[in-house]
C-alpha cells in the first residue's frame, strides 16, 4: 500500500494505491497519516480509493478510526472513487450510512465547500 497526500482547495487528499491490508502496511498507517494532518490543523480530508482493490478488517478499522478522530475535532472525512466491489460491501455492511462516499473526487471536493 502506498499513500501520498496533497492539498487542494483547503482539502488534504490522500491518494491510496494498492490494498489496505494489515500485511501491506509498511511504516505509517492510514490513521497515523490522518492524525498527522489533523495535528497540523487540517480539517477537510479526502481519501481517494481510485487505486484500491480491496481492504481487510484492518483497513476498515483504519478508516473508522480516521473518521472518529476527524469528527472529534469538528473536521470532515470523505471517501471517493471506491470500486464497485468495495462499495457493495460498504453498502451491505452499512458503512455507507456512516461514511460520506462520493463517486468522483470533484464532487467530493465540491461537497466540502457546501457543508
Amino acid at each position: 500500500m502506498v499513500i501520498k497526500s496533497r492539498e487542494l482547495s483547503n482539502v488534504v487528499i490522500f491518494d491510496i494505491q494498492g490494498e489496505i491490508r494489515r500485511t501491506d502496511t509498511v511504516q505509517e498507517t492510514l490513521h497515523g497519516l490522518v492524525e498527522a494532518q489533523l495535528d497540523r490543523g487540517r480539517r477537510n480530508l479526502l481519501l481517494d480509493f481510485g487505486g484500491v482493490e480491496f481492504i481487510d478488517s484492518f483497513g476498515v478499522g483504519q478508516i473508522l478510526a480516521s473518521y472518529i478522530s476527524t469528527q472529534h475535532l469538528g473536521g470532515k472525512l470523505k471517501l471517493c472513487r471506491i470500486s464497485d466491489k468495495l462499495l457493495l460491501i460498504f453498502k451491505i455492511t452499512m458503512l455507507d450510512k456512516v461514511l460520506d462516499i462520493h463517486a468522483d473526487c470533484d464532487h467530493a471536493l465540491e461537497s466540502f465547500g457546501r457543508t
Partner: protein
C-alpha cells in the same frame, strides 16, 4: 475618533473589545441621554404634582396603573410591525412632541397666573377656549403629565435594553453592562445636577426645563441610529443573523409568554418580590423621615440630599464593583447580593434604638436604591438575554411593566392593610410601626433571596436551549449505524475466501454462529441463493458458474442441526484427545494457512493445557495473520498465561486493535495485572499507550481510578491516550465516578499547557493555532469528567464552529459552570481576542510579568 483611542478610553470603564467599541459607546450615550432626560423631568413632575391639591395625588399612580396595559398593547403592536430602528426613532420623536406640548400647557398656565387669562403672549398659539380649559382643569393636565412621564421612563428604559439584546450576546453584554450602567448613572447625576443648578440659580422657570429635554432626546435618536447602523455593518462582516424579527406580540401574548415558561415565571416572581420588598422599605423610610423632619422644607432638603448622595455612591459603587463582581463571581452571586444585604439590614431594625433609626433608614433605603441602580439592574437585564428573541420582547414588556406595577400595587395594598390592622389610637409609636412593616419586608426579602436561587438554577438550562449538537461524534454515528466488529469479521471472511476454502467456511461458520445476519449479508456471503446473488455476488467475488465452492454447504452452515453436530464433535473426548496429541504438529506446519486454520479452530476447542500451550505458540507466530486468529482464540479462552504475550502485541500497529480486544475480553480481573505495565519504564511506549484503551473498554471504577492516577503522573507521551480513554469511560459508563480533587489539578495543568502554546508558540502561527486546538480538545475532554458531558461537548462544538451568537452563549454557559481559577486561565484561550490582548490576559491570569 480613531478606533484604537476609543477602545483604550472605554477599556477604563469596562471590558470593551475592539469591534464592540462603537456600538457600546453609542448605547452608553443613549442610556446617558434618556436617564438625564428623566432626571430633568422628575423634579418638574414632582413640583407640579405637589402644587396640586393632595386629594389629586393618588390619581397619578392610579392613571399609570390602569392605563399601562393599553400603552403596552400599543407599544407591542408597534414593536411587532415596525423595523427596530424606525420604532425606536418614532417613539423618541413621540416623547419629544409630548415634551413640547406639556411645556406649552405649563407655560400658558404659569404665564396666565401672572397676567390675565386671555392676554398672554402664548395665546397667539392657543385659542381662547384652550387657555380657559387649561386654567380650569389644570390638575388633569398635571396628572396626564405624570402619567406621560411614567410611560416615558418605563418605555425608554425597556427600549434601551431591547437595543442591547439586539446588538450583543449574553457574554458580551455581561462584559459591557458595567459601561451601560455607568452611562445611566452619570446621565442621572448630570440630569439631576442640571435641573438643580438651573432652578436654584433661577436660570429658567421649572417648566422651561422641559425644553432642554427634546435636545437630549434628539441626540438619543442619533445615538440609537448609530448603534443599528454599526450593527448592520458588523453583521455583514460576520455573516451573522442576530437581529431576528420577533413574531407578533401583544399584551395577551406577553402574559402567555411568561406563563408558559418556568424560567420567566420565576424571573417575574423574583422581580415582583424585590419590588414589594423595596416598596415596603420605602414606606419605612418615609415613616422615619416624616417623624424626624416634620416640616415640608426640611423633608424636601433631606430627600434631595439623600438622592444626590445615593446617586453619587451608586456611581462609585458601580465603577468599583459591578463589573468585578460579575466577572469574578458571575450571575450566581451577583443575583443574591442585594436581597442578602437588605435582609441583614432589614433584620437590624429589631435591635436598632429610635435614636439611630435615621442612620438605619439611610442604610436600608440607600442600599436598596444603590443596588437597584447598579448590580441588581445589571443582573436583571442579563437574566433576560439568554431567552430566545421572540419570547424575550414579550416577556420583558410584561415583567418590566405589568409585574412591576402589580408589585407596587401589592405593596401599597399591604401597607394599607397593615395600617388598617393597627390600632392607631394606641399604636402611635413609630418604632413599632416601622418594625411591624419590617416583618412584612423581611418575608418578601426571604422570598426574593429564595427565588434568586431558583432563577439561577434555571439560568444555565435556558442558556443551553440554543446550544444543540453541531455534529455527532464519530463513535456515536458508528454505533448507531453498524456493528463494527461484525463489519470487520465480514471483510475478513470475504478476504479469507481467496486464501483457503476451509478457512472461509470456518469464518462463515463463526459468523453465522455469533451473529444474526441480515438477508443482505447472507447474500454477500453466499449463504442464501437467489437472483441477486446470481447477478451480483458471483461476478464480484469470482465465485464461478457453479455459484459456490461446495454447492449447498453455505445453506447447511445456517442449519441449527448442522451447527449442533459441529459443537458435539468439538466436545467429543476422543476428538480432544487426538487434538491434544496432534495440535503441536499441526501448528508447526510450514503452511501459514494451516496454522491460521488451527488458530481459528482452537476458538471452539475445550481449553485443555495442550490446547492452551498450542495457542500460546500461535500467539507468538511469525505470521501476523496467524497471530490475529490466535488473539481471537485468546479472547475466547481468556487464559491467564497468555496475557504477557498479548501485551507484547499491543506494540505492533498491525495487531494492536485485536490485542486490545483480547485483553478487554478478560474483564475486570485483568485490570490489576496490566496496570503495572502502564507505568513500567521497561515497556515500549507503544504498549503503554495502548493499555488505557483496554482499561476504558473494561470501564470499571478501578480501571477509571488507575487512568486518573496515571494522568496525575503527567507524562507527555501518555497524555493523549489517557484522556481519550477517560473520555470513553465517561461516554460509555455514566455510573463511574470521578473525584474532583483528583481531576481539578490535572485540568488546571492541561489548561496551563494550553496557555504555554500561546505564550511560547512552538512554531509559525498556523502551527501554534493547530497545537492550541489539540490542547483545548484535551481540556474539554477532561471537563466532561467533571461536568455534564452533553453540555461540555455542545459548548466545545459551538466555540469551535458556532455562530458568533452561539459562541457567546457557550461562553456564558461555561462562565456559569466553571471554577473561577479555571475560567481565568481558559477564557483568554477560547474567547475571540486579538493575539496581543490574549497574551496580556494570559500573563495576568498566570501572574507573569
Amino acid at each position: 475618533m480613531a478606533d484604537g483611542f476609543l477602545e483604550r478610553t472605554l477599556k477604563r470603564l469596562g471590558d470593551v473589545r475592539g469591534h464592540e467599541a462603537r456600538a457600546a459607546l453609542a448605547l452608553s450615550a443613549f442610556f446617558f441621554l434618556i436617564t438625564a432626560t428623566f432626571y430633568i423631568i422628575k423634579p418638574v413632575k414632582e413640583s407640579f404634582l405637589i402644587g396640586s391639591k393632595p386629594g389629586w395625588w393618588p390619581y397619578a399612580d392610579l392613571a399609570t396603573a390602569l392605563l399601562i396595559g393599553l400603552v403596552v398593547a400599543v407599544n407591542a403592536r408597534l414593536l411587532d410591525r415596525l423595523p427596530r430602528r424606525t420604532y425606536l426613532t418614532a417613539s423618541l420623536l413621540f416623547f419629544v412632541s409630548g415634551l413640547l406640548v406639556f411645556w406649552l400647557i405649563f407655560d400658558v398656565h404659569q404665564k396666565t397666573l401672572s397676567s390675565t387669562p386671555v392676554a398672554d403672549t402664548s395665546g397667539v398659539i392657543f385659542l381662547l377656549w384652550a387657555q380657559t380649559i387649561i386654567w380650569n382643569h389644570f390638575p388633569v393636565f398635571v396628572i396626564a403629565f405624570c402619567f406621560w412621564a411614567d410611560i416615558f421612563i418605563a418605555m425608554s428604559v425597556t427600549q434601551f435594553w431591547i437595543a442591547v439584546n439586539d446588538v450583543f450576546g449574553p457574554h458580551e453584554a455581561k462584559r459591557l453592562i458595567g459601561l451601560f450602567v455607568t452611562g445611566g448613572l452619570f446621565g442621572g447625576i448630570a440630569g439631576a445636577a442640571a435641573a438643580a443648578l438651573m432652578t436654584v440659580v433661577r436660570l429658567v422657570e421649572p417648566e422651561d426645563l422641559l425644553l432642554v429635554c427634546p435636545i437630549l432626546l434628539v441626540l438619543a435618536i442619533a445615538a440609537v441610529n448609530g448603534v443599528y447602523a454599526e450593527k448592520r455593518r458588523t453583521d455583514v462582516v460576520a455573516g451573522d443573523e442576530r437581529l431576528a424579527v420577533p413574531s407578533k406580540v401583544g399584551a395577551w401574548e406577553s402574559f402567555r409568554a411568561v406563563r408558559s415558561d418556568r424560567y420567566l415565571r420565576l424571573l417575574a416572581a423574583m422581580v415582583a418580590s424585590a419590588i414589594v420588598a423595596g416598596s415596603l422599605i420605602n414606606y419605612q423610610f418615609k415613616w422615619v423621615v416624616g417623624n424626624i423632619y416634620p416640616t415640608v422644607q426640611a423633608r424636601t432638603s433631606f430627600i434631595a440630599l439623600f438622592f444626590l448622595v445615593i446617586l453619587a455612591v451608586s456611581a462609585a459603587f458601580h465603577l468599583l464593583t459591578t463589573g468585578r463582581v460579575l466577572k469574578s463571581y458571575g450571575i450566581r452571586w451577583a443575583i443574591a447580593a442585594a436581597p442578602a444585604f437588605l435582609l441583614a439590614a432589614s433584620a437590624a431594625v429589631f435591635v436598632i434604638p429610635l435614636g439611630l433609626m435615621l442612620a438605619w433608614a439611610w442604610v436600608v433605603r440607600g442600599g436598596d436604591k444603590m443596588f437597584d441602580n447598579t448590580l441588581s439592574q445589571s443582573v436583571r437585564e442579563l437574566l433576560y438575554i439568554p431567552v430566545s428573541a421572540d419570547v424575550k420582547y414579550r416577556a420583558k414588556i410584561f415583567i418590566d411593566v405589568f409585574v412591576n406595577k402589580f408589585a407596587t400595587g401589592t405593596a401599597a395594598v399591604l401597607w394599607i392593610v397593615l395600617n388598617a390592622a393597627r390600632n392607631f389610637e394606641y399604636r402611635t409609636d413609630p418604632l413599632i410601626i416601622i418594625r411591624e412593616t419590617g416583618l412584612a419586608a423581611l418575608a418578601f426579602l426571604v422570598l426574593w433571596l429564595a427565588l434568586t436561587r431558583f432563577v439561577y438554577r434555571e439560568y444555565p438550562a435556558v442558556l443551553k436551549k440554543d446550544l444543540g449538537r453541531i455534529w455527532q461524534e464519530g463513535r456515536t454515528v458508528i454505533d448507531a449505524h453498524l456493528d463494527e466488529k461484525l463489519v470487520r469479521e465480514i471483510f475478513d471472511a470475504v478476504q479469507s475466501r481467496e486464501r483457503s476454502t476451509t478457512l472461509y467456511y470456518m469464518n462463515l461458520f463463526n459468523l453465522v454462529r455469533s451473529k444474526n445476519l441480515t438477508p443482505e449479508l447472507q447474500e454477500l456471503l453466499g449463504i442464501k441463493r437467489n437472483e441477486l446473488k446470481a447477478r451480483a455476488m458471483d461476478a464480484l467475488f469470482d465465485v464461478g458458474a457453479a455459484g459456490g465452492l461446495y454447492p449447498g454447504l453455505e445453506e447447511a452452515i445456517t442449519d441449527a442441526e448442522f451447527q449442533k453436530e459441529i459443537d458435539l464433535i468439538y466436545l467429543l473426548p476422543t476428538y480432544q484427545k487426538i487434538m491434544d496429541e496432534n495440535l503441536g504438529k499441526i501448528i508447526g506446519s510450514p503452511s501459514e494457512v494451516e496454522r491460521i486454520e488451527a488458530a481459528n479452530s482452537i476458538c471452539r476447542m475445550a481449553p485443555s493445557p495442550p490446547t492452551m500451550d498450542a495457542l500460546a505458540r500461535l500467539l507468538q507466530d511469525r505470521s501476523v495473520e496467524v497471530v490475529l486468529y490466535a488473539l481471537n482464540g485468546a479472547s475466547v479462552h481468556r487464559w491467564p498465561e497468555h496475557v504477557p504475550v498479548i501485551l507484547r502485541h499491543l506494540g505492533n500497529p498491525m495487531t494492536v486493535a485485536e490485542a486490545q480486544t483480547a485483553l478487554a475480553a478478560y474483564g475486570p480481573e485483568i485490570v490489576g495485572r496490566i496496570a503495572p505495565h502502564l507505568r513500567s519504564a521497561d515497556e515500549p511506549a507503544e504498549v503503554r499507550r495502548a493499555i488505557p484503551e483496554v482499561l476504558a473498554r473494561i470501564g470499571t471504577q478501578k480501571a477509571a481510578d488507575i487512568l486518573v492516577a496515571e494522568l496525575a503522573r503527567r507524562r507527555d507521551d501518555m497524555e493523549q491516550a489517557l484522556i481519550d480513554a477517560l473520555y470513553k469511560v465517561r461516554a460509555e459508563r455514566p455510573r463511574v465516578r470521578f473525584r474532583e480533587r483528583d481531576l481539578r489539578p490535572e485540568l488546571r495543568f492541561l489548561i496551563r499547557k494550553a496557555c504555554d502554546v500561546v505564550l511560547g508558540p512552538p512554531g509559525p502561527p498556523e502551527e501554534a493555532g493547530a497545537a492550541l486546538v489539540i490542547r483545548l480538545r484535551r481540556v474539554f475532554d477532561l471537563l466532561t469528567l467533571l461536568y455534564l458531558r452533553e453540555d461540555i461537548v455542545n459548548d466545545y462544538q459551538h466555540i469551535l464552529q458556532g455562530t458568533s451568537k452561539s459562541v457567546d452563549y457557550a461562553l456564558e454557559h461555561l462562565d456559569n459552570l466553571l471554577d473561577r481559577e479555571d475560567k481565568e486561565l481558559l477564557f483568554p484561550l477560547i474567547e475571540d481576542l486579538p493575539d496581543g490582548e490574549r497574551v496580556v490576559r494570559l500573563k495576568k491570569a498566570l501572574r507573569l510579568k
